[in-house]
């Protein structure tokens, strides 16, 4: 005898003998990761009693305006007093002879919220951060505390650069010889083969030292009794202007009195010396040519410069956004949590939004009656200047790098009552004539001086700077209350840098006019804006997150951590546990030997299958395809079963892999330079680089040698599969899935934990439970996979 109680929206429903509630509990452990499923019931047939129909808002009548069938309803189900379904969601499928209801629970309620089309860049929130062409990376702790900020990486695209053939002729000067000692305690990337782009950011390593030297045609280096490393820390490599390896030493080279000459297109020499193993910790450089012009040849290399890096967002910040926006918390623990918390997503896109572009500042120039420096105060909104609104200052200090449209206006006047006109002209008007009197004088103007942080001054004129030949000529008729009144203005686009100072000075070529008064001075500055984030704009954070579905992001994190979501959802928290947990729990397995209800007169299972749905011989976990990625970071689980399909993509990640620290988003501009009297191509410092959007990226964050955050990509899926999926892969080699009827009490069904394996003495094996179909009569059809 079974007592079943089904509550919908908190109301006990009528049931009859046709209302069989068959529960299906699912484990997502071995399921295809892209198809996570929830526990669910088979169709529940409720009798059409008056009470039931009242609870369902009489949804069985077409004329009724009830919205009941179009919404989810809370469901609770008790069997013999045990609450088997706690946070279920019921839907009315149809109303026929009975009311057909379906209930999902477990992972469903939180996971349903993640489904749908909500994407990371739709999570909302007003976070933004000022962006410039050069951004200083945060420290890792500051970055993770804020959740977003700047993390160093190399933004350059490794383009093929065919400069064509060049002839060079270099004029030698006096040969200079310099001994360079290594910077001890660090190593630096040298690349591993010709063509690699290296990242010139030193890493701490005791017993080692590094050098990065300018290295041009005609230069040569002598290395004596030095020992280098292997891998990425070779003894030496020669780089071109793009930090690309031109020549490189072999691994673990030890050199004695070796001379290394510069190739024609060389730019830098990178050296790592094992100072413990070497007799010398220096190299000797011979130079006989003036330095390269422009001097910054190759200067954009490295990450510590922070040139053209976009903000990055920590994975944790995104998860918190998901929790606050969708109300679903995804929970990892232990190593997996640490790993996810170390991840950051560099923002590839740079779309502006209303908050990023509408930056401006307004200031008024205080009235003046004397010539010379003017005072002013910032009023209203101020996104550009350091000064506090309302405070009178002599100069404005720029707070951020930006391009601004600057509009300066002022009105000035002088008293001409005592003045005598310089000349007069007579004009004829149809027979009568009229005498015009002219006043000629030097007009006032304002000189705006921008003192650059580099020390250079730039002067802009507001009004007209009167040349001796260009006097102001005013007519007597233009006198207003015996005063001549002028409005002067200046307008234009100016690039400002943080720290620049702006001063205004009222000037006149000839001194001060009588009773001169300056009034109505205004300064309006508007930062450049476009659809893209420009220098000086605020970089919107969430809007520029990748266009990836929230559910795909969570599945990706689940895949790279080798975890699966438990069905037992605690409210709206989804708990992810490592796959290895199941094997680790074998000592705690439960013994279901005597619970099995045999289907045959033997000790064989009711049903035995040899295939797992959705798996092939080669099962790929792939990173998103991105042509700019050179390395291979995909992984696959191989199953030695020739009856399966050859190959299948289990999961194509929404992110692309990354080579080292290279997020290829900008093409370095190249300009003509000179070297030793000869014209060469070099990196341009003034031109803006071209922007190209690459596939979304994700990488870990660590501290560089300067303690600043930098990205590094270390997520090789094959390694992760070997480490985290090893047990699962071996269980997949000889799949044995059995189905048996098992006598499970309601308490056992309620407390069923996917993490706990089951032991069956009949089969002398351990099994993982994949599915439980629990009927009311106490027996359940259980699908199990042999794991040991």
């Amino acid at each position: 005898m079974t007592y079943e109680q089904l509550y919908i929206d908190g109301v006990l429903m009528d049931t009859d003998e046709k209302t069989s509630i068959l529960l299906e509990l699912k484990s997502n452990l071995f399921a295809d990761i892209s198809k996570m499923v929830s526990n669910h019931t088979y169709t529940v047939k409720l009798p059409k009693t008056v009470h039931n129909m009242t609870v369902l808002g009489h949804a069985d009548r077409p004329a009724n305006t009830s919205v009941w069938p179009y919404t989810f309803h809370s469901a609770r189900f008790f069997r013999n007093g045990v609450e088997l379904i706690k946070d279920g969601r019921a839907t009315l499928l149809s109303a026929a002879d009975s009311l057909d209801i379906a209930i999902v629970w477990g992972l469903a309620s939180p996971f349903e919220k993640l489904k749908g089309d909500i994407r990371l860049n739709q999570l909302g929130g007003g976070e933004s951060i000022p962006w410039s062409t050069v951004n200083t990376p945060d420290t890792p702790s500051a970055f993770f505390a804020r959740g977003y900020g700047y993390v160093g990486y190399t933004p350059w695209i490794n383009d093929k650069t065919d400069e064509g053939w060049k002839g060079m002729d270099v004029t030698h000067t006096q040969d200079t010889v310099t001994a360079y000692h290594v910077n001890q305690g660090y190593t630096i990337d040298t690349g591993e083969k010709v063509g690699d782009i290296v990242n010139l950011n030193p890493e701490a390593k005791a017993g080692w030292g590094y050098l990065v030297l300018p290295f041009h045609l005609t230069s040569f280096v002598i290395m004596n009794h030095v020992v280098g490393g292997d891998g990425n820390n070779r003894l030496w490599s020669i780089l071109d202007a793009y930090d690309r390896v031109l020549q490189i030493s072999s691994a673990s080279t030890s050199l004695q009195s070796t001379l290394l000459s510069a190739p024609a297109n060389a730019a830098k020499l990178v050296i790592n010396i094992n100072v413990v193993a070497s007799q010398q910790d220096y190299v000797t450089m011979h130079r006989s040519v003036d330095d390269m012009t422009p001097a910054s040849f190759g200067g954009q290399a490295g990450t510590s410069g922070g040139k053209y890096i976009h903000p990055s967002v920590s994975a944790k910040f995104v998860l918190e956004k998901i929790a606050s926006k969708l109300g679903v918390t995804c929970q990892w623990s232990g190593d997996e949590e640490t790993f996810i918390n170390s991840l950051a997503i560099p923002l590839i896109k740079k779309k502006a939004n209303s908050s990023s572009a509408a930056l401006s500042a307004n200031a008024v120039i205080n009235p003046a009656t004397d010539m010379g420096g003017l005072t002013m105060q910032v009023v209203g909104s101020n996104d550009i200047f350091v000064e506090t609104p309302g405070t009178t200052v002599n100069q404005l200090t720029v707070a951020r790098d930006c391009g601004v449209s600057l509009d300066v206006q002022a009105t000035w006047s002088w008293d001409a009552s005592d003045a005598v006109s310089h000349s007069s002209t007579e004009a004829k008007y149809g027979g009568s004539s009229r005498t015009m009197y002219q006043f000629i004088y030097f007009a006032n103007y304002i000189e705006m001086t921008i003192t650059r942080i580099s020390g250079d001054d730039e002067v802009y004129i507001i009004g007209k700077q009167s040349a001796p030949s260009a006097h102001q000529v005013d007519q007597y008729s233009e006198l207003l209350n015996n005063r001549f009144q002028h409005t002067i203005a200046g307008y234009g686009h100016i690039d400002l840098h943080a720290g620049d100072k702006i001063e205004f000075e009222l000037k006149n070529k000839n001194g001060k006019l009588q009773d001169m008064r300056l009034s109505d001075g205004q300064i309006n500055a508007i930062v450049d804006s476009s659809d893209d984030v420009l220098k000086g704009n605020n970089f919107p954070i969430v809007d520029n997150l990748p266009d990836i579905k929230v559910a795909d992001f969570i599945k990706f994190l689940s895949a790279i951590t080798g975890t699966w979501p438990l069905q037992k959802a605690d409210g709206d928290t989804i708990t992810f546990v490592p796959i290895a947990t199941l094997w680790a729990n074998i000592p705690n397995a439960v013994d279901w030997t005597r619970k099995v209800i045999p289907a045959h007169d033997s000790d064989k299972p009711k049903e035995l299958d040899y295939k797992m749905d959705g798996w092939a011989q080669q099962n790929w976990y792939r990173w998103a395809d991105d042509d700019t990625v050179i390395g291979d970071y995909d992984g696959h689980i191989d199953i030695d079963d020739e009856t399966l399909d050859k190959s299948r993509d289990i999961f194509v990640f929404p992110f692309a892999a990354t080579d080292g620290r290279n997020i290829p988003t900008y093409t370095r501009p190249i300009a003509a330079g000179t070297f030793g009297g000869s014209n060469v191509m070099s990196e341009a410092t003034t031109e803006e680089p071209d922007y190209n959007e690459c596939k979304p990226r994700i990488a870990a964050v660590r501290a560089d040698a300067n303690g600043k955050a930098e990205l590094f990509f270390d997520i090789n899926m094959q390694t992760i599969l070997a480490e985290k999926y090893a047990h699962m892969a071996s269980a997949m080699q000889d799949v044995r899935i059995i189905k048996d009827d098992v006598r499970l009490s309601n308490i056992e069904i309620l407390n069923f934990d996917e993490r706990t394996p089951v032991y069956l003495a009949q089969h002398a094996s351990y099994f993982a439970v994949l599915e439980i179909k629990a009927a009311a009569n106490g027996s359940a059809e259980v699908t199990m996979l042999k794991i040991k």
Partner: protein, 365 residues
């Protein structure tokens, strides 16, 4: 059926009488309408809205199922010590109608007292007919009456009224046995008007009340039986929403045992293999049990036969199970086995049916 016509719009609404039954059609018909929206209002709150699209300017809505759903407190849970209590088997429902014809809108509303019951469709099922009840004095007893507003119920001790209860609001009321006197029977009357005292008041009885020119009609005859104390005492809700009681004689019980499932174990360690492998010892079974009790009301009148017939179709039948330790009555819900019943032309005949007691819990594996 009632009718209202709006002169401006030409809309006619036909709607049910002021006394209606939740299990009979409750039709709101609009004639000359383009659209009509019918709202069901209880205690000032809109419960449901039904949209009616007409065909050829005429359309209707049958609200009976909505009305049925409004009764959330159906049952026999009455207090037998309370002399008079309002039944939960009836309620006032307001129907608010908004109809439109062209640019003219017409809104109206009406109220019906809805009884949780039904009348036969042949029109001969008189809701207000005189009924004949039996009061088994050894068991809890109460009776229900539908009363109109501003009337009085006179309780007779025998045929003569001996006490009165004034009714101000229309409704179904349950009256306890304490209203009845010691006579072998009691006649209950409806007095359609205000009860006025003449020389004497009703402190003692109603022997001298003022006979006015108002209708006084009998509603019930209740016969008292103070001897019977054996049998099964049932109560149920009849087709008119009234509460009913009867003490039945008991026949021989039948006990149905059915197999739920039977299976054997195949884990070899379950068996004692010292004497060979004995599979049979691993066989297990699970059963379920139902008890059926035949009940009889011997030699009842034709009227009482009809009255008892409702127990076989009532959705709520309960069996008296004595009193608990606090002297409260205990009632157990029971079922009635579906069957065909024959009512012959004899003046007195037996009424027999089968009662199904609740399933008996048994252990299972």
């Amino acid at each position: 059926m009632r009718t209202i016509t709006d002169q401006t719009s030409g809309i006619t609404i036909n709607y049910p009488d002021s006394l209606a039954f939740a299990f009979n059609p409750f039709l709101v018909e609009g004639i000359g309408i383009d659209t009509m929206s019918v709202a069901i209002v209880v205690d000032g709150q809109i419960k449901y809205i039904v949209d009616v699209q007409p065909f050829g300017n005429t359309g209707y809505a049958d609200l009976q199922e909505y009305l049925q759903g409004l009764f959330t407190d159906i049952g026999n849970d009455i207090d037998y010590t309370e002399p008079m209590s309002e039944s939960t088997h009836g309620m006032n429902v307001t129907i608010s109608i908004t109809a439109a014809s062209g640019e003219n809108e017409f809104g109206t509303s009406f109220t019906s007292y809805v009884v949780w019951g039904a009348v036969k469709p042949d029109g001969r099922d008189d809701f207000g007919r005189i009924r004949h009840l039996m009061w088994f004095k050894n068991y809890p007893f109460a009776f229900s009456l539908y009363c109109e507003a501003d009337t009085a119920i006179l309780f007779g001790n025998g045929a003569a009224p001996s006490s009165a209860q004034e009714i101000t609001d229309e409704g179904i009321y349950n009256f306890a046995a304490s209203n009845l006197g010691d006579a072998k029977y009691s006649i209950i009357y409806e007095y359609a008007g205000q009860l006025q005292q003449a020389t004497f008041d009703n402190t003692f009885d109603l022997t001298f009340y003022l006979a006015q020119n108002v209708e006084q009609r009998p509603l019930l005859r209740i016969d008292a039986d103070d001897c019977a104390d054996e049998g099964i005492y049932l109560r149920w809700v009849d087709r008119h929403g009234y509460i009913a009681h009867w003490l039945f004689k008991v026949g021989d019980e039948q006990r149905q045992i059915a197999a739920v499932r039977e299976f054997s174990r195949n884990a070899y360690t379950n068996y004692d293999t010292h004497y060979g492998w004995q599979r049979g010892s691993g066989r297990r079974q699970s059963m379920s049990r139902n008890d059926i009790v035949p009940l009889c009301a011997p030699l009842v009148t034709k009227e009482q036969f009809d009255y008892l017939q409702d127990v076989t179709s009532s959705p709520i039948v309960e069996m008296y199970a004595g009193k608990d330790e606090n002297d409260n009555d205990r009632w157990v819900g029971v079922g009635v086995q579906p069957a065909t019943y024959t009512k012959n032309r004899d003046e007195l005949q037996d009424f027999v049916f089968n009662l199904i007691t609740p399933e008996t819990p048994i252990q299972s594996l």
